[in-house]
Amino acid sequence: MTQSGMHTPHSPQPSQSPATRPLLLEMQDIGISFGGVPALRGANLSVAAGEVHALIGQNGAGKSTMIKILTGAYRRGSGSVRFEGREVDFRTPKQAREAGISTIYQEINLVPFRSVAENIFLGREPRRFGLIDWRTVQHRAAALLDSFGLHIDVKKPVGRYSTAIQQMVALARAVSSDAKMVIMDESTSSLDEREVELLFTVVRKLRDDGRAVIFVSHRLDELYALCDRVTVMRDGQTVAQSTMAEMDKLQLVTTMLGRTLAAVVHDDPAAREANLARRGKQAIAARDLGAHPKVSDVSLEVHAGEAVGLAGLLGSGRTETMRLMFGADPLERGSVSIDGATVTLKSPQDAIARGLAYLTEDRKAEGIVPELSVRDNLTLVCLRTLTRNGIVDVKKQQAIVDRFIASLGIKLRSADQPIRELSGGNQQKVLLARWLAAEPSLLLLDEPTRGIDVGAKADVAKIVRELRDAGLAVLMSASELEELTAVADRAVVIRDGRTVAELNGAEMSESAIMDAIAYGGDSSSQLAEAAQSASAAHIEDALEGDRHGV
């Protein structure tokens, strides 16, 4: 246990200002298991009043579980939670809310058709003679939002306003209910820059009022812009607690991904270079892709016979980029060309007709048809080619199913088995087979190794390499960098919906990718930071000069 030191209430963290403030929340040694599988093991989180605390980690690191325990949605298996110095054990979200912990989710839990004012005071409407006093409701709502610097008509339905304003209404609701702690779970993921800034102003105001804010986000820049301290989680444990100032971006990324720079093992760069040297023609090229809000400017190309890794943190726009390239979402800007010719893909059907395949990230929601058999799932895409006069040729279908079950090593009892009964890895292989059966020339693989066991991961990686060697063009994303570098010949790194770096062959390594994720080609923010500090210095100089002058 690396964090044994954190067991003392005041962790041996640098005694910065937060340590001088009283701790509002201390969660220690939290453990919880689901069906015998531990989701949290000795996780810690301590937050002081008057700070914005970043809680970060990859998907499945345990952030949400931690928050759900705090808000009473789950009950912890072990450990202790102290809130305002008292031991607490919230059994329902309502209890947590009453104790002063308010949560603002990504999908905002407001009632869209009711007015802003009603939403703010929902369930706590001031009454007069047993009736709701609407005038007071509206007055107080307007006053509250004014104090946020937000001047809107509180009588309008909240659904008419932008997501950012809805977030602020949700914040106002938290404030009006005297929340001592506000948890913001990926609140900014659907906001644009200007809206984010607006929201941050309000969050800072809350902090200055002495409230604590737990801020969950995957956008590094935002964390540095807003947060005072950070807790990093990985694999259900707390792996770092620090002030934001003491942890630079690269450290943050490496801690989060669990890869120290020293431990990063390089693949065979020579082999990659060789592969790149013998790759074929350009298969697909995306130029300046944009679609609000997740993708603002992505360019990349994939050649036949090469595997390109699409790297970036969660929420950086990987999935959205692939969906745009596959015609699943409408393109707002930019263009896609296939085999050198610009194409307009109106639907996945168009993309499939042009030889594209898209393995979705969310296997359950967008991949398997759970109740149908493995056979029906596997032949879903190629089914059209297996029919004569609209009747499915069962023999041909079975032949394809048998071939792929054998060649991909899919373990099952029978092809008639519903796919939901298979393990995650085998489901993924069936879905991969679903696309391969359609004989595509270009594969878009979104997190093909997510949520499957190590053996299956290796199998999938091997299959992907074989496909590349067979001349297919492969674009693959993966949160686990070692999985990306194990397969890809080069990597395209995106951040906040922009291509920030392209690392070819020998240039590509886990550390290089992490570097790009943290700072990558993002001259804008670095320059901006530099410019800001420079101008501050400038002003100080000028002031000095003035004083001296006088």
Binding site: F34, G35, G36, V37, P38, A39, G60, A61, G62, S64, K68, R234, D235, G258, A263, V265, D267, A328, S347, P348, Q349, I352, A353, Y358, T360, A365, E366, G367, I368, V369, E371, L372, D376, L380, V381, L383, R384, T387, G390, I391, V392, V394, R413, Q417, P418, E421, S423, G424, G451, D453, V454, G455, A458, D459, A461, K462, R465, E480, E482, A486
Partner: protein, 353 residues
């Protein structure tokens, strides 16, 4: 494994991450998938049982009647029960298709009324076999048009099926009444009414027609591309769309077929009664059809279509009503029992999932 793993850390770390990954919010918990075989056989047996469950209930009811209901064992009783169930089954087939897409069609009764109102106008006003032929074709096409309307509302405008089909549920009967001036059309046209009253080897033709449709559509669902696309669309629409399945067309066809079948049922209904009253034809049939679908084991959430189950479901409901009536239990009470059966069927479905 041929694939080489780079470091030890890769072996151990992702695995650890793996185990921590299943978020309890998502249902895909590892224990579900860890022992697929043992669980699989269990589920499979359950399913086989589930398919037979409805049949067992039906047989039990037949047995009960054979013992306790006088005159049950007669061709007449047999024919009465079957003919009363024909329109429900035919409408139920179409309803099964729509329910398989995850939708529902409330407007089937109205489609029946429209078709039932048009037919007499054709065969009463156009003499000869041409009139009879047109009276079979045009009303069904008119009903199909209602289905196209429903389908477009659901697919193009993304209106919830229950609301989309509510439009014609309300307006359809009105249209039928406007067409007929609200008057009852009585007729005696054996050539047309043969569809309901004719017999082949002692069995009413409408019963044979019903059985033929059940067999045909069961085959369509199991063997054709459309049938597969239907189940895929209902089973996971996002996955279907991303796999290139023309989900909108599939739904449109389902609603169109459903309405066309309702149109056909309308023709049978007016032939039985030798009259067409736009106010009465197909009244309340949507509920009987939905009940038959539910009792027949088709999940109302979509992704499944048991056409044979719908037949059995309709027979169960019919036989229940007959049994209660034969034993002197008033119709009002019979309705309550019918509701009870539906609740039981849905409950059992939930349990077996």
């Amino acid at each position: 494994m041929v694939f080489k793993l780079d470091t030890e850390s890769m072996q151990s770390e992702p695995q650890a991450g793996q185990e921590a990954r299943p978020q309890p919010g998502s249902e895909a918990s590892p224990q579900q998938t860890s022992s697929p075989t043992s669980q699989a056989t269990g589920v499979r047996n359950w399913r086989r049982l589930a398919m037979q469950r409805e049949l067992i209930v039906l047989l039990a009811m037949v047995l009960f009647n054979l013992i306790f209901t006088p005159h049950f064992w007669s061709l007449q009783t047999f024919n009465v029960n079957l003919t009363q169930v024909v329109t429900i089954v035919i409408v139920g087939i179409g309803m099964t298709l729509v329910v398989a897409t995850g939708g529902i069609d409330l407007s089937v009764g109205a489609s029946m009324a429209i078709s039932g109102a048009l037919a007499p106008m054709l065969f009463l006003n156009i003499p000869g076999p041409g009139g009879i032929a047109l009276a079979f074709v045009l009303p069904v096409l008119a009903a199909a048009l209602c289905g196209v309307f429903n389908g477009l509302l659901v697919t193009r405008l993304a209106v919830q099926p229950i609301v989309a089909t509510l439009v014609l549920f309300i307006a359809g009967r009105g249209i039928a009444q406007v067409v007929t001036d609200g008057s009852l059309q009585a007729f005696n046209t054996p050539a047309f009414q043969w569809i309901a009253l004719g017999k082949v080897a002692g069995v009413p033709f409408q019963v044979l027609l019903m059985l033929a449709l059940v067999v045909a559509f069961a085959w369509v669902v199991r063997k054709t591309l459309f049938g597969q696309y239907l189940l895929i669309t209902g089973g996971n629409e996002k996955a279907a769309y991303l796999s290139g399945v023309p989900t909108a067309s599939v739904k449109l066809i389902a609603y169109t077929l459903c309405a066309a079948l309702a149109g056909l049922a309308g023709l049978i209904s007016i032939s039985v009664n030798s009259s067409s009253d736009a106010n009465v034809v197909g009244l309340g049939i949507e509920l009987d059809a939905i009940a038959a679908v539910a009792v027949g084991g088709t999940a109302l959430t979509g992704g499944k279509a048991f056409i044979g189950g719908t037949l059995v479901g309709a027979l169960i409901i019919q036989l229940l009503r007959y049994t209660l009536l034969a034993h002197g239990i008033p119709d009002a009470a019979a309705l309550v029992v019918k509701a009870g059966i539906i609740v039981a069927a849905v409950y059992v479905q939930r349990r077996s999932r």
